[in-house]
Structures are given as structure tokens and as C-alpha cells.
Symmetry: C2
Amino acid sequence: MGRSWWGWGLDEEAVQGQEARELERAVRSFLPEADLTVHDAPAVGSLGLARPRVVVPESLAHVCSVAPVERVAHARGKALRDVVRNLEGVVGPVPDVVAFPEGEADLERLLDWCSGANLAVIAYGGGSSVVGGVEPRVGEGFAGVVTVDLSRMRRVLEVDAVSGAASVQAGVLGPDLEGQLRPHGWSLRHFPQSFEFSSLGGWLATRAGGHFATGPTRIDAMVESLRVVTPAGVAESARVPSSGAGPSPDGVFLGSEGTLGVITQAWMQLRERPRWRSQTSVVFDRFFDGVAAVRALARSGLEPANCRLLDAAEALINAGTSVRGGLLVVGLESADHPQEAAMERVVALCADHGGRVGRVRHSDEAGGGGGREERSARWRSAFVRMPYQRDALVRRSVLVETFETACTWGALEGLHARVVAAAQEAIGQVCGGQGVVTCRLTHAYRDGAAPYFGVYAQGRWGSMVEQWDEIKARVSSAIAECGGTITHHHAVGRDHMRWYAGERPGVFAAGMGALKREVDPAGVLNPGVLWPAGAG
Amino acid sequence: MGRSWWGWGLDEEAVQGQEARELERAVRSFLPEADLTVHDAPAVGSLGLARPRVVVPESLAHVCSVAPVERVAHARGKALRDVVRNLEGVVGPVPDVVAFPEGEADLERLLDWCSGANLAVIAYGGGSSVVGGVEPRVGEGFAGVVTVDLSRMRRVLEVDAVSGAASVQAGVLGPDLEGQLRPHGWSLRHFPQSFEFSSLGGWLATRAGGHFATGPTRIDAMVESLRVVTPAGVAESARVPSSGAGPSPDGVFLGSEGTLGVITQAWMQLRERPRWRSQTSVVFDRFFDGVAAVRALARSGLEPANCRLLDAAEALINAGTSVRGGLLVVGLESADHPQEAAMERVVALCADHGGRVGRVRHSDEAGGGGGREERSARWRSAFVRMPYQRDALVRRSVLVETFETACTWGALEGLHARVVAAAQEAIGQVCGGQGVVTCRLTHAYRDGAAPYFGVYAQGRWGSMVEQWDEIKARVSSAIAECGGTITHHHAVGRDHMRWYAGERPGVFAAGMGALKREVDPAGVLNPGVLWPAGAG
């Protein structure tokens, strides 16, 4: 038992019994003809893993593993295509060595070794990439691959209570981080869906989007300073709340996905745990009435922490609610003052846009959200169950996957129509028509929003990766053609490279390629990700 | 008449008559022995300007000027040391040519010419730099200097009303930009003190801090995409509200101060003009009680648009108010809902920290702040008069200058004490003791604040630049030693290079040097700023 080598999370948390039966019944409602035979993961010993191509130097042996289960568990992220290939026993590129540095000294020695021996280095946090970011598809020309798992660098090193900030090692996973901060009365309040099995370093290296649906939400906004170990030395930015001195040094490393260095520590801005919460849900007969309401909320200055608009299919599948157009789940939170007045204005804005507002709930948790976290804990629990349920469905040959983007409000309606049509058409062709495409808005800005799409379709065991890749390629091209970014918060990795290359400015890419050659002269850091193959 | 070649703004707006007499009386109150003889600027013709070292190609002649008044007017920014040297008739490095491109085609030809002929290129927006950012101290090794004034590229090209965003040419000055946006019902709401004579491109290239005292305030937060002309080609980022695809391309060019390319256009996120405003002022007996109140406000989620804490000297000099510890000017604004309830909480928080809250004023300007802008227009008028008054004082040998930083709340009290002591000690030594050091907090974050210091001291005509440089060097080193950044919003330019070099990570500087060599292979863009001299 423990971490699953082939799928999400912990083996003992896998969907079974009653939960599995309910899931099957739900799938039957929209995929009546699906073959829901359950496929089991093969034993690691049966995979026929090749032996490591490299010998670990004596001085690093104590922090390195060549155990087959570590190597396969670190070979892929957690996308549908990763889980399917694992279940099928399809072995692709696998790291030769998995290293677990205890500190920067170990990490520096690892980078020296890899730079000198021409070994690709893949920094690994929680391993929750859904874009091939940690998969050792590094191309020819490397003598081997060393995946560097930061999980032993997981301590909160210092809490500055006056400033409301903490120095944290990058390998810490979400719950562990919050657990270490709680006794000090602080929280990072960054809760991506991957929260349980993603790390601070991973959030920073992929510019993760988080808890807040409006206002500053990206992990970038919470960074005071970064410490990054590169083959050319350690880069540590000044710890200040905001500086106007030149381009932001942190801005170069945020989102660099392990290609420019390994983020080892960060000073992060913290928040008090919220005491007052107000929440409600709003039903719209037309999805784009809901969109207009969300746009008004994003511009209102009310900054709802939660402001998720689900379309009818999403509401049915993920909230068990039947609506004609959309369901908006909206919540305010504050550590400073009650939210009743603000919620009144939220309600009025939603009604102005044709929404039927449900019961409004207010709560006041004196003491800062200790016991009263229960309800949101239950919601979070459902939220974090989703990846387990995804795995259960995948084992039953259901294609369950998501893709996401962000675009301006002006582009949204056209993008939504075009992308949904592209997805439906692709499902029709590769899955014989049985499938559903859902949409929700996960984050909203003054000038646009991040739509998040779900696909549930009948797969064919043995062809599911090809089926998904075909759907994904078509929707990605549709997104690009309609003015969306290839990713709002899932990063680029290897799977988004084709569209990323078209999205970023060429002059910027050339400049960053030169920067990479300077900080990673041997070109060993996560080859194939972000920068042109020859850039290293 | 028109733009002053030697000082701030318009000749016809210079301080005179009653305003001048009041200013002199105010100075006498704290510099009783000052010699307030008024020094006049010399005629441009008397400066003995050297002839341009270069001949403008025929094809660019129509957008280039070698007129002496253009060359001297573009030779410096608007810091004390710039104005003093101009008034003294001290000629330093002057551009050989001032170019006024009408569009990108002109600009590209200019960059080609300069790259080919080894001419340094200095991008020039409003010319309000106070850090030597536009001064052609480019070192040896260039055949000449071409300053590129973007003022003819000043149009709002497109307004996207659905998304609330506009495509704007970079050369537009503040009032012109707001004037073009007003008929569409939108505002950028970016009002630095230099507003009247600074440009969008300048704000972007220096990561300007703006109107909002709390919450996102830096111009960075309002950018959807940038278009930058570099010697290696045009870089234009995708226009999306937020993307997680790799490091932000805009982040590389924001704050690049003309060293990596010339920003020509940007899609900017806009705001509705506020309708509801609530404001008050709060008196504190101890400055650091006021600091604690500002910290609480910055963490409250109330996001006051104005939240400026003045110390006693600053309150006396700039607000005519006598207080023992501090005066907090706090204001809320919204285009969506009244601010009474939020202001009640502001008042309570201030009272909790020992503040005595003055009269609270609420206003409701139906129609979005048309006529009712009057009061804030008056305040803005006083605010924008300050640079004119600075010039009037400088002409009377008063050392009037500011410096600023940002640091964490935890570092603030120590930094404040040390920096004020360093400034006082320096004034004692270089000005014979007559002088005042003031402090205000201009911007506040959850984790820290931006203190802004003013120096008013008795100068000696003929030695004022050396006097200020000595004070500035000492306070800058004190700031660096106490954990402050060398600049929160004045940029680096040439004058902050010594401290910037110590603040930024060396690995980052090396990487950015490589990036610069890629996008500016001839090394002609604003040499001497940001990147090591040999980087180009």
C-alpha cells in the first residue's frame, strides 16, 4: 500500500464497493452501451523494465534509487494517457535513476554529475503533471535520465509572523505544508485540485492556478522570493514584497518547468485562515447569462473566492444538479469582516443577469476556521476524490479527461462554440459518437476567463491513448484558432509543445534559448520542454 | 513656451507670484538661513553644444531632428541632479539625433541604422526618469547616440468593450490616454505622480507603480499583451487575460528599460470609472501605530484605493497638517457599489490601532465620475504641482529630492530608523545640518510596504549635485543593508546600477545578458542600463 505507481494518490483510497457501483450507474446514464469491464494494473515485476544505463557514483548512492517501482512510478504524470499506458503495461521511457536529495548540497552534486555525464535531469515534485512534464521523453543524445524527486526537502524553514510570510522548501506537498503552517495561524490558501499530491516547487515551476476564482490566484502572486539551483550556480532573489528593479528575476523561473534550474526554496506570502464565509448557488437558464454574471462579479471588486460556473452537463455530472443553462457556485470569505453585505451585492448582480439565487448561507467561525472547516472539508473531499474516480472510470475504458484555456470575454462565446463542436466531432469519429463534453469557468478576470472542459466518452481498451490524442489535438488547434492560450494552469510539458511554439513570440523563445544555454550549459535540464530541442 | 527643456512640464506652468512667495515662506520655516536667490536657466544657444557626430540617412531625415533644443531637452530626465545641471548650464552627454518615429516601420529602420552604424539607442517616452534612464551616458565605443522619442505613436488603436481592454500605442502620455478612453467609458486608472508627462511605454518599461495603494497596483497587473520591436524582430505576446504557458513573455520585457527592445503597443486591461467614493483621514500619535493600521488594512481585503500614511514632517510640508505621529489618508472607490460599509470597517481598524478618525465623506457620482471628479481633480492638481514646486525650490538652492524602496513589514521599522539616520547624518555633513527627512508609505502589501522618503535641505549653488549624490549613496547603501529593494517604482536606470548589481541574482544577470545578446546582437539598446557593460 502507499502511493500508487500507476494512478492517482494512495492505493488504499482507490474507488471500490458502493462508490464504484454508483459511478458505474452514473456512466450508464450517458454511455448506455459502454463495456465497463475493470482492467487491473500489472505487477511492476512483469513490465520487463530495462536495466539502468548508468551507475550512480558512490558519493550519491545514499540519495539514489534504481528500484523498479520507483523508476516506473516516476516515469509519467497523472494524465489519462499516463494512467492508461500504465494499466496497459506499456513501458515507455523510464528514468534510470530516481534521486531523493536531502538538501541543496546533494542537489548540486547531482547536477554536477548529470552535466558532466550527459544525463538528462527531470525535477519531480508531486508528479501530478498532466502534460508529460515529468516523462523522460528527452530525445536521443543523452546517456541516461535522472529524475530528481524533491520530497525529502519538505520543511517550513522559517515563519515571519510580522510580515506574514514563510520560507519553505520546494518539495513539500499541499497538506504537509498547511499542516506545518497551521500551528502558526497561517495558510498559503493555494488549493489546486491536485493539492494532496502536488508540491510547492511544482506549483511554482508550472505557475499553478489556485483557490481564488477571482482576483490574484496564480501562485506567482504569492511569491516573495525564489531560490533556484542551476548548473551555473544558485539564484536567489531579494525578499521584498514588490520591486521595480528590472524585469522580475522570479518571473524567469516561474513557469520554467525545470528547464532552467531546480526551485529549492521560496519565501511565500501567507494569509490568515478565513473566519467569515458566505455562499450560495445560482441557476441560469442560459449558460451565457451565467457568463455575463461572472463577468460582472469579476469586475465588481467583491472578489468572490469561489465563482465557478458549471454548464448543464457539468452540473449534472459533478454536482448532481439538473439545470437548463448553468449553475454558479459562489462564495465569499474573509478573515477580517462578515460578508453579508458583499453577498447581498453578489445576489443582486446575479439576479440582474437572470439568475435564480438559492439559499444564502453565512458562517462565522470565531477562531479562524478550525472546526468549521468541516463543510468545506467535505466539499474539498469531493473535489479531491475526482482524480480517484477518474482512475476508476479509466479502468472501465471510459475516456475521462479535461483540457483548459483562458481567453478574453470577447472571444469566449466563439471559442466555446468552436471548441465544443470540435470535441463533439472528434468524439463522434474516434468513439463512435458516445460521449459528453462539459464546460465550467474556473477562474474569472476583469478582461476574460478560464474555461475548463471535460470529456466523458466511450473508449476502446487498447486504443484509448490514440483516441484521446486525436481529440486533444483537434481541440487544442481549435483553442489556438479562437484566441485561447494552450494552457491557463496545466503548464506546457511535452504534450503542449506544438501549440506553445505557435503561441509564444519567436524572439522571446530565441532569447530564452540563449538564457538557457547560459544557466544550463550542458543542456541537461528537462530536455524537450519549453525551449527548442537544440537550445540546451 | 511649451515643454521646458531644463525642468518639469510646461514653461507656462512654472511657479511664480503668490505661489512662489508662499513656497519661500514655507522653506524659511525650516531652513531659516537659506540663501533663496533665484537661478535662471541659461539659453540653449549659450550651452556650447557639440555638433552631432552622425549624419542621418536620407530615408530617416523626416523623422529625425538635430535641433539643439531637442537634443538638450532629451539629454536628461527630471531628477534633482538633472534639473540642477541644466540650470547650471553644465552640458554632459547629449544625443546626436532625436528621432520621432511615426510607426513601427520607422522604428525598425531606425534600429537597423543604429545596429549597423554602432549608434546607441535610447527609447524615450515622457522623459520623466529620475534615475538617469534616458541620459546618454553610454560609455566609450559608440559612434553616436540616437534618442527615440515615441510621442508620435500615441493613439488608442482599438477598444474591446466586451473584454474591457484597449490596444494602445506606447508613446501616449497619461492625460491623452485617458482623454481617448473617456468617450468609451473606460479608464486605465494608472496615475503615477508623473502622470502628465510620462507615457504608457515608459510605465511598462519601468514597471511603474500607480494609483492603487493596496492590491495589484503595478502596471504589470494591467497588461494583456505587449508588442516589442527588437533588433532581432518583433515580439508580440498572445492577448489573453492570464496564461500558464511557460515563463511570462511579458515579464521579460516589463522593466527592461529599453535594453531589450522598444515597446510599441500594448493591450491593456481597463476599468470602469468609479462612481462611489468614501474617504477620510486618520491621525496617529505614533508613526508606527499608523504603520500597524496600514498593515491591517492591506490584509483586510477592503483594498483601499488610497492608503497613504504620512509622517509628521510629511504631513506638515505636503498636507499642511500638524500631527504628532502620522496622518493616514484613506479612500475607497468602486464602480459597482457604495463603500459605506467597507469604510465603517476601515474606521474600526484604524481606531483599533490608536487612530483618531476624522470626518468621513461619501460620494455617489451617478454616471461614473464625470463632474464629481472635481475634488479629486483638485487633489490631483496639488499632487501634480509638486514637481513644479520642486523646480522652484531647486532654483533657490534647496536640495529637494526623494528616494524610495519596499521591504517586508518585519524589516520596516529597522530600515526606517537606519535610513532616516543615514540621511540626517549625510545632510549634517554635506549641508551643514540644515534639513528635514520625511517619510510616507505609498503602497502597502499583505507582507510589506513601500516607504517613500523626502529630503529638504539647504544646498550650495554649484555643489548641489555632489551634495545630493553623497546623500543618495549613503541612503541607498543603508536601504540595501536593511533588506530593501533599490527601487519600488523609480526603476534602475544608470544611477541605481551599483545597488541593483548587488540585489539581483548573479545567475539571473548572466542569463539575461545572454538573452540580451540574442535580441540585441549589436548591443546598442540603452547601454549601461541593467545588464553588465559587456553584455551587448
